[in-house]
Subunit: 554 residues, 2 copies
């Protein structure tokens, strides 16, 4: 009989050195489970890309070993890749009811059958192959979020998922401190913990503090109130609705994802709304402005979202009215700062009063700051630690935090996606690497836009393209029509006729030179045209458009 | 004799509703002066654009009236357009010595003769036509910054320039409160004031507080210290040098703009550096790590700047060493957050310890917060107020502030670039508009890249381009070669051969249909090809590449 493995492996496939596409594999012998399968939003230089998902080659190469996917919560960066993953891997997916409710909606949008979703409750334990998987309630900026404990023959692994320690959560369901303490007492081999706010000293504000800020804003608002927030933050929406009820206002919901999530949350009982509070968008004109609250998407200034379109006077049904109070109940995700500022400016121009500054208390983060992280570490008391869910500096800061609590440096692993981290009861080490990386999704295409296409898009974006078309006689290798030059994204042609005429002359000269030197190989002719024209254009304009010579053979 | 005008006009040509390209015209009758001539950095959607300058059509249409340009300080958003403006307008430029020193460097880089630069000192008054122009010392994040007072026959106008009220400035030269108070007592008609930090309550930290933060960092650093900051912030550089001297370290300067500004500042006496403190980059290896400070550009994560290249192991002369302490002595300008984060991550990966958080005190803003703005308003006590130097929400906040101090709402003008604001001793009103806007600079081209070119670049950036080339016989209007399809930035062709083959078939069908229906007009043929192919590609890929049909006639 084969000797049982003495080590368990943890292999992150996404979420390290980046915020997004979280995916972690736990492997013991021939069995694996996967924690989360998220997407990432494209970087600024990933032109034209819609979203990024993890490269799951490793899972496909070991498809018979993959026993289950377990989910921590319903945010896109934890479930957004599943429509793509489940097309290739047929495994059960375990998650809490709200998480699976949101996932089911995503799968439906992508025409992927939702056949193998298994609902669990915080506190449940399930057996998956050799793994005993536990689900532990935590607070986060979405309801029904859990941490995952995985008992393996080698030891117990705890993954916090995304969390904060909110002592006054809106649904009254506090983080399960006892479960963490119990695990810590029994012994935890490896902890993987959320590093998003590892740079922030102190504690993250409770979600309840936002309710107080809402109360203040509602008390002063004399006309309509419009609140933009993340559609997935059910607790934030609950507080907005509670305030509306307190101040005797009706609530209309705006924006596809907001409507979707509120519908799921109402069905599953995660939102409590008194009868008659919710009204349809079309009913808004039936009420005085002082009796209206509009809950909307667009807190990140996203171009297509409802609030942004309202701000630009581009929404079919609603416009911003002078006297509106707009509350942007979110902070800009890094990279979105300018989009949010632009929306705020437009709202002011429309005569609204806008509450958006972090200082006004209208948003609280969903991630633990340093003091909460220290508490979790001291409850769980792991032997080894892998900071996760953060960019490199977040992981470094979190690692430093663990060191300050007394963990030996060699037991802390600031890892990279794809690295294989191996643990025995006494030892932990990095042992090799598997395939890991980004798969870019553009429209319906998954993975067909790679570096070459992106590089081309960047050049096109900077300086445009010039197409040089020439018709050549096959036999004589002589030019019989052209060269014609067409440009796009380079200059405004009407104003640059002289430049284009001179460019054409240069190309003609290059072609004549080729003919003179009996150069008939098209690749060489094209290369000459490209070099000559490129040099000329750079000299005249200091720009480097893409140059595409095309030879038509007749 | 013609009656003298009873009104003075203020016409902003840049700087309102935006941060950048500051330019304000003051006109009385046939005489104008211009305050500042700055550039703006391109918005994210201005693909391939290098910088943006104000449209000065109005000045060119009235070139004989323009008597002078007066400068408040040497930042790019106040002087950066002058190399372009002075090519078209020959007028004297007044500014303080450091401002003109920096400007002279810019003009030289752009081959513009610096023939008419007139140096002034804070406290000076000059007569320019009917205008009596005064220069008043203020604190800012660059030395030698001034506010401008303009006495006209109708009344006095005060423009604060960019300012903060730093009570402990590094050079000991405090803002000239007396001058402001005196103006206020004599009577000020219109105030134009810096709105950049109008959203921030309280006071802006003194520049000296950064010195304390530096001291703390220097005390703990055991190896090399690298400080990245804005090259124009002479006072910040002075403090860094003072700390180096205190801790017995040598200082090397890195980065073209940093070297330029330090050179100018040393020549003009704005920097005090003890003999032997500065060393060349090449001398760094001659000293122990603990005796080195490197002052560098790259505090905004700019791709070509020294610190960024060092972080990416891409600098010819210097690399980051484990143990280096890197201080990012700046906060990200809105829009630059991701670039700065990326550089910070790379620095951590190289083993450096990085101090970058706003909370660590290693940066202080150069702009007044709310309490300082209130003080300036109460010193100057203007009749009318135009908030300047800010995006719309900044201008609105600043306007609200003035109202809170008791100024009547109708005396406050939240204006737009190009609006003509007219004032008499008793009345102020908006009276018409002049040409104003953005001129885009790309390479050597000024203004030749406009909306159409940008729109094309955006489409190319998103989904690339397909070029369809067909050779047609002129007489028979029949296809004799092609259709050939070439794509760039669309798909990776090798993996999408089938798609491209099917696309080619679709185009053939469209061409055959045209021939069948005796359609010979090329515009119509191209339109058919574009529609057919576009529809097909969208159906298959959900992408909309640019489609460029080209017909070669033979």
């Amino acid at each position: 009989m084969a000797k049982l493995p003495q080590k368990v492996q943890i292999i992150p496939l996404g979420g390290l050195g980046e915020i997004g596409k979280n995916m972690t594999v736990i492997r013991y012998g021939d069995e694996m489970i996967v924690i989360d399968a998220g997407l990432m939003f494209p970087e600024d230089d990933m032109l034209g890309i819609d979203l990024v998902i993890p490269d799951i080659t490793y899972l496909l190469e070991n498809r018979d070993s993959v026993k289950a996917i377990v989910l921590t919560h319903g945010h896109e960066d934890h479930i957004g890749a599943l429509p793509y993953v489940l097309k290739q891997l047929d495994v059960p997916v375990y998650g809490t009811r709200l998480t699976l409710g949101i996932l089911a909606g995503r799968l439906k949008e992508n025409n992927v059958p939702a056949t193998n979703l298994v609902a669990v409750k915080p506190g449940d334990q399930i057996q998956v192959g050799c793994f005993k998987v536990g689900f532990i309630r935590v607070s986060h900026s979405i309801a029904d979020a859990v941490a995952i404990s995985v008992r393996t023959p080698v030891g117990t692994i705890v993954h916090t998922g995304d969390f904060k320690l909110d002592q006054t959560p809106i649904d009254g369901k506090v983080t399960d401190f006892y479960a963490f303490a119990e695990l810590g007492t029994k012994g935890v081999l490896v902890l993987l913990a959320d590093s998003t706010n590892a740079e922030r000293p102190g504690y993250t504000q409770s979600e309840k503090s936002v309710g107080l800020a809402f109360d203040e804003a509602f008390r002063h608002a004399r006309e309509r109130i419009i609140i933009a927030t993340f559609s997935s933050n059910i607790h934030r929406i609950q507080q907005a609705i509670d305030m509306a009820v307190k101040y005797k206002r009706k609530v209309a919901i705006l924006g596809r994802s907001m409507i979707n999530v509120v519908t799921i949350a109402l069905e599953l009982g995660y939102l409590t709304v008194p009868e008659g509070t919710l009204i349809d968008i079309d009913e808004i004109p039936n009420y005085p402005a002082a009796e209206i609250v509009i809950l909307t998407t667009g807190s990140q200034g996203e171009p297509m979202a409802a609030l942004t379109r309202m701000a630009m006077s581009d929404h079919k049904k609603i416009e911003i009215l002078p006297g509106d109070t707009v509350i942007i109940s979110a902070t800009p995700i890094p990279g979105n700062e300018k989009m949010v500022s632009r929306t705020v400016d437009y709202l002011f121009r429309q005569g609204a009063d806008v509450i958006y500054e972090a200082t006004s208390g209208i948003h609280a983060s969903g991630h633990a700051s340093q003091e909460e992280l220290k508490l979790i570490h001291n409850l769980i008391r792991p032997k080894f630690f892998i900071p996760v869910h953060g960019e490199y500096r977040h992981l470094k800061k979190h690692a430093k935090l663990a060191q300050e609590l007394g963990m030996p440096k060699e037991n802390i692993f600031v890892a990279e996606n794809g690295q294989v981290l191996e643990f025995s009861p006494a030892q932990g080490a990095i042992n090799g690497k598997v395939t890991a990386g980004n798969v870019l999704v553009d429209g319906l295409g998954v993975g067909d836009v790679g570096n070459i296409v992106l590089r081309d898009r960047r050049q096109l974006a900077q300086d445009g393209i010039l197409i040089v078309v020439v018709t050549m006689d096959k036999q004589r290798s002589a030019v019989i029509a052209g060269p014609d030059i067409v440009s796009r994204g380079f200059v405004y042609v009407r104003e640059s006729e002289q430049l284009m005429e001179e460019a054409r002359e240069k190309v003609k000269q290059a072609l004549e030179k080729c003919e003179l030197n009996s150069i008939t190989e098209w690749a060489v002719i094209k290369s000459n045209v490209r070099d000559t024209l490129g040099k000329y254009l750079y000299e005249k304009t200091r720009r480097r458009p893409m140059i595409l010579p095309i030879i038509m053979e007749v």
